[in-house]
Subunit: 610 residues, 2 copies
């Protein structure tokens, strides 16, 4: 089931509780030509002379609307002043000087901060004519995202993009202030030009002029540097860090993104989770409930996922008693589970059921069935003959799945998440935005791929739980880690862990358990031997967090200049083929630029030299 | 003359006025195993039980010194506790629990915040043994920079690096708070993966998997994006932005650096300079005098440079009256200038004179001479026969230069700057650190290269002074710009300007005056036509500013993990050759990785495919 896009107009929730005062600063008009922003002129200013600068939103004989990034003010013009702007198209830039007066009776607008007043202009200047706009800012919803990204500077003028970006700036500043001023963190900027990490296929390579045929790699995260900072006595580090990942065309990812990156010495998992929870509460615009802690195992059992959306009281149940015939012959490692869908009779369509069966099949299970009990007590279900009708409520829908435990849980996890979205869309007008954070803990340290090869469930620097170290050799899949995730409304917002500070243990896990070559990490292993304090840290994705806060349908709505789905900059066109001259300069001359073509054009063709 | 490196031990000036309270936060020990940092334990805590975590700095029967990033605490141990750490080398990590007591009479140390007390330990734990350090943190001065960078995590433990990084974090936070909370700026993160700009040979190319043979370029600055943000109604933007420049081996530059980047709509040059000055005063740890404004012309005339060090009252003077014989036959455009060097008789050695003559010759002038008037009134000078002795003071040194005006001024500018450094080093013990900011204004908009081709003095988006627009066609070199530089103690800290907001003027300057192809900037020109407000902005280098504040000899001393002189990461070794597999993945397969070599080794050899 595709993620439906919520209509944009309703997507500010916590943000909608913010008044325009949230974004106001005492000296926001100092050092500029204006005396007030276009949302600031109110009854308090009646009789005052003001200077406003902004975009012409609308004009008609005698009056005009002036818009800036904050709001709109109505301007009254006499005939000779009107002539000044008569030929100025909307979106031209004006400076208006005049006196604030109360609007005539019956013309006040309660929905605007400036709705009680208007400015009677005595001077008006066209600062720049708008000669050409591809669309009016208020029409952005009619445009495809491709057009919006190509002309992002128009899209940004809309009040929602303004609010998203300003909210992001405010919130990031609040994070910083708390970390630095309250908790004694030191913000350190770490390099992004670094060397490839083992297995770092997703790291963009960077060529340079001075070192032919050698490449920097853009860092995926400051992981190594933050551990080195702990070793270097910066005991509380954070950074709002730019990170890079060459993931190609993934719909809601960006090749560069922002991570709030934290590391601390002399801490436990408890310490880290408590700090993060206190921090989130301090910066969040609305009040938050306590963050529950849910073990990975429990989360999988109850929700069929390790990032459940806790806004919905939908729980996976054991269903052996619903399906006795199957239960009797259940093989080892198999289970029967059910998820009851209140309101499902109305909301769930046959295409959803088809979708869920297909998804389950991909997970390797055939046994997925719905049970619908009608108001008259009759049951509609492919497995009607196998079930006990009395176990179901009238007017109810239940999805039952059986087969290998993991696949059953994941299949019902998908049903749960899709149904939650149906619920959300069904109550769209009355939907009360809510933010349910939770911690997921007790993850396994390793997982095994299809060939039985062990992999780190998170990354190889994660410390095992002390109680499980003894099983590293004998039963590594049993080892639990000191990793924890922070989830919010069904998204994994971030993750953290206690790191390994013993070089012996780190070497053992890299070499013996994971079978990796340690040579590319010798600098880190040597650093652990030089007096590395016990340490741990956390990172969370700022783009996603702000997008959830703004209820934006995509992280692109909280990034000023995002790349499009396929990683391109649609405005200026990047990436782009380089000229042969540039290729030679950076020692990439072995690659011929596409012949006979304008090097500024973009094409994925191009010949290898040989 | 090479820039002498000031001894590092004396380089904290404004920073030295900061007490350790500057870096203290109310909850800096909350959510951690320690109760106090190692600088916090004072007479206030006598009788209290504390837990400290830190590095073993020194041990001897009965006592040990424990160090963390903040300070040092003395710990008293009984014999059995001593045995716990007996075999722990220095730089091992300990946790110490105990009671704070007053030091015995005569053992107090006034120079340490914790010098009145010690902690009588009742529990001590070795958290991690230090098995191997290449050097002790306090010995870093004996080490070459190459060693220090390779083992940066040890270097960072020294109190100066701690102070530099913590000061940088504090100061950056203060900048942010003022901009956001006081002046209404919105911090916006702009892309670093962008397309090459015309003539952008210094922009690192970035390959990717999804778009074969196309490259992003890492941005040198957010210039285009910040202008687009103004067009997009974010009327006050700033960003503490990572910027990239592939400059190869330049001694005090870094391939990635940090810029405080500011842009505002509806402002004048005056507005921008006033804001910046107010901002600098607000964040600077010591009080600052008013920033004088000096025109480019005046600065060249008085100081022979556009970034004079105003801590020294040394002024270039007209010297026609000193050298009448030459003055009589002075060609058009030539001049005679002099710089008096108080104390020069003692400080200036013959190697300096030789150096200055050589530099002058490179600038194209032969006429540079010293005039030394001894205490007995006699004069020693190569041009003794040409000068009038009475014009010179006894025990004085004067440098006289004549020839083409520009070259003469630049030659004396070098003399001035070198002599200032001699003065600084000569009074090293009594040198009172001072910070002299100034604005340089009225720059020419264009300069011409050796072939007479016009170039932008700064960048092509800089607006001309209104009064000079009329000369754009007829006499472009006469046109002054709305650009201004901020200088501090002889360094250019940053620069700003009013930008061009008219597409017609921008196109005229790009195409008609500079003869550039506009096609790669069409997106910006189109944006200017969509209602671009008048706007301007500023950017300053954070690394340099903090280095001057800390009186650090190099910007590398205020960067946690700098690259070395040649742009390499010495710790992990980057850049590095990629494996053939990685090259193929990123469509760089045309470049063969050096054959038969370990791909993790670094070498500048490597074969082009063909």
């Amino acid at each position: 089931m595709k993620q439906a896009r919520a209509p944009r107009c309703r997507y500010i929730s916590a943000a909608s509780k913010l008044t325009s005062d949230t974004f106001r600063s005492p000296n926001q008009n100092k050092f500029s030509e204006r005396t007030h922003a276009c949302d600031e002129v109110t009854v308090e200013h009646i009789g005052a002379r003001v200077t406003l600068c902004g975009w012409l939103l609308y004009k008609r004989m005698q009056f005009a609307l002036l818009r800036d990034g904050f709001g709109v003010t109505q301007v009254v013009l006499n005939e000779s002043l009107y002539r000044v702007i008569e030929n100025a198209p909307t979106e031209s830039i004006l400076r208006v000087e005049g006196i604030v007066v109360r609007r005539p009776d019956g013309q006040a607008r309660e929905d605007l901060p400036t709705g009680q007043v208007e400015v009677v202009a005595d001077e008006i200047t066209v600062l720049n004519l708008c000669k050409d706009v591809p669309f009016q800012p208020r029409e952005y919803q009619k445009k495809t995202e491709a057009v919006r990204l190509k002309y992002r500077y128009i899209d940004l003028r809309h009040e929602e993009m303004q609010r998203n970006l300003r909210l992001r700036s405010k919130m990031t500043n609040t994070f910083r202030r708390h970390l630095i001023e309250n908790y004694g963190f030191c913000e350190v900027e770490t390099p992004t030009l670094f060397r490839r990490t083992p297995g770092g296929a997703k790291e963009f390579p960077v060529a340079c002029h001075s070192h032919p045929h050698e490449f920097y790699s853009l860092t995926q995260s400051p992981q190594q540097f933050k551990q080195l900072l702990m070793i270097g006595s910066i005991d509380r580090y954070f950074q709002i860090a730019r990170c890079y990942r060459d993931e190609g065309a993934r719909p809601d990812r960006q090749p560069e993104f922002t991570q709030v990156d934290i590391e601390m010495s002399f801490v436990t998992m408890e310490n880290l989770m408590n700090l993060l929870e206190e921090l989130m509460r301090a910066v969040w615009p609305s009040s938050l409930q306590e963050f529950p802690r849910i073990s990975y195992h429990e989360s999988m059992e109850l929700y069929g996922t390790d990032k459940p959306d806790l806004r919905y009281d939908l729980f996976i149940e054991d269903a052996r008693n619903l399906l006795n015939a199957v239960a009797e012959n259940l093989p080892e490692g198999h289970c029967i589970k059910a998820l009851r869908l209140p309101g499902g009779v109305e909301l769930v369509k046959s295409r959803h059921l088809k979708d869920w069966r297909k998804a389950a099949k991909q997970l390797g299970i055939n046994g997925v069935s719905e049970v619908i009990k009608r108001g008259d007590g009759s049951v509609k279900s492919p497995i009607a003959s196998l079930i006990d009708n009395d176990q179901f409520l009238e007017n109810s829908m239940t999805i039952i799945a059986w087969g290998p435990q993991k696949a059953v849980l994941r299949a019902l996890g998908k049903v749960r998440s899709d149904f939650a979205q149906l619920l959300r869309l069904s109550i769209i007008s009355s939907f009360n935005p809510d933010f349910k954070f939770a911690w997921i803990t007790d993850f396994p340290l390793f997982s095994s791929d299809e060939n039985g090869k062990l992999e780190s469930e998170h990354h190889p620097f994660t410390a095992p739980h002390d109680d499980y170290v003894e099983f590293l050799d004998s039963d590594p899949l049993r080892v639990k880690s000191q990793h924890f995730d922070l989830i919010l409304n069904g998204w994994e917002i971030g993750g953290g862990s206690i790191r390994i500070h013993s070089s012996a243990l780190q070497r053992k896990i890299l070499a013996d358990v994971l079978g990796q070559d340690c040579s590319e990490l010798e600098h880190l292993l040597k650093a652990l031997d030089s007096g590395a304090p016990p340490h741990g840290g956390f990172a969370f994705g700022l783009d996603r967090l702000i997008a959830i806060l703004c209820e934006a349908p995509s992280i692109r709505d909280v990034i000023a200049f995002p790349k499009s789905h396929d990683g391109r900059d649609s405005m200026a066109n990047a990436p782009v083929a380089l000229t042969q001259e540039d290729l030679e300069y950076f020692h990439l001359g072995g690659l011929k630029s596409p012949e006979g073509r304008d090097p500024s054009g973009h094409s994925s063709s191009g010949n290898l030299a040989s």
